[in-house]
Symmetry: C2
Subunit: 194 residues, 2 copies
DNA sequence: CTGTATATTGAATACATATTCAATGAAAAC
DNA sequence: GTTTTCATTGAATATGTATTCAATATACAG
């Protein structure tokens, strides 16, 4: 394994460790030393890989942003066009909920993206996360569902915000309480259903 | 006005200012100087009224805890016993949403209580907020609704967690985006409905 | 091998911000 | 009107934690 690959491995290890800690303890409560200790590596070495705690967060958010974009333009987006809107959303939630245990990486990333959008989070990371706009994507889906006659009346954007706020809230609880039972996706889609 | 009353007034002014800032900017991002500047008063004087930033938060959370307890044992609790479960919850949300503009104090307090329960928030305040358990209260209500045949099947505690996580998420958005339209309480109660 | 580059450490430093404090002003008590 | 108590200020200090750095070890290249 080349030197460059080694370094890349190490960067990923740091990123994954930080991701877990950020989501479970919160960004401000996880200190650089916490991450270093968990990797494990010395505190100073962290700065050989990332120039600051904020940049580390930004890298994570960038990864999340790419993933989300891929999702909303790749084959999954095709499925969205074909499937009935409610089926697609239920499928998405089912997938995400199952990741909570099988691919915590993906799950945590999704949760982090939501958290970083909140006020008081570092400016630049927040900007990047805000850029990825699931709200609009889902709003379109909701409009489609309304036409199909399966979703309730109401401003699609507002419905979309409510839907995602709910999903985010529940996923944060799941991220912290690993033993929490997985909710039925239908419960959340019911927010939209007629 | 006596000296003591003056002091009490001033304390309240600080508490209300801090509440607004905590909810809109986040606890960690609002500095003591931010609060002092907004009150307004000198930074040092803040410590004449509250011994620390954490204690200030704790005082707020204590107030919120009292308010919540009063709510769940006062006349409102009676109403809960009489009304159909869905009516009661819708009424509660309607009330809370209307407070967003008319009594931002109450609204913000409610949001803060939710935020403080999260990981990474100061220990003691968190403990106090956790103590106030809306989850169980609502779980009972949900059980009632299930018997009435209006709520879906499923673990009442899990349903309750989902319901509150959703409410919290949406109220946080409303707290930050003052122009956001008020969602229809029915959308959230639909999480529970059969 | 030898020299050069990279990885690693832990202690020193920088920095942001919470907290203290000595000094001053203003109000209440006597 | 004098004394005493409380309110107020802003600069100094303490503290926690991010960040830097000089020193050392390890891997790689020639």
């Amino acid at each position: 394994m080349t030197r460059k690959e080694q370094k890349e491995e190490r960067r990923k290890a740091i990123l994954m460790t930080a991701l877990t800690l950020f989501v479970t303890k919160g960004y401000y409560d996880t200190k650089i030393t916490d991450i270093a200790e968990a990797v494990p590596m010395s505190t100073g070495l962290m700065f050989h890989y990332f120039e600051s705690k904020e940049v580390l967060l930004e890298e994570l958010v960038k990864m999340g942003a790419e993933g989300t974009k891929a999702l909303s333009s790749g084959p999954a987006a095709q499925a969205a066009a074909d499937l009935p809107a409610d089926q697609y959303l239920k499928g998405f939630l089912q997938q995400m909920f199952s990741y909570a245990k099988e691919q915590p990486w993906v799950f945590n990333m999704f949760v982090l993206m939501g958290q970083v959008r909140r006020n008081g989070m570092p400016e630049e990371a927040r900007r990047i996360a805000m850029d990825v706009n699931s709200i609009d994507f889902t709003a379109k889906l909701i409009r489609k569902g309304q036409k199909e006659g399966i979703f309730r009346k109401g401003d699609p954007v507002l419905l979309s915000r409510c839907f995602w706020a709910s999903v985010q809230g529940i996923m944060e609880e799941m991220a912290i309480d690993k033993d929490m039972e997985v909710p039925d996706p239908e419960w959340l889609v019911a927010i939209l259903r007629k």
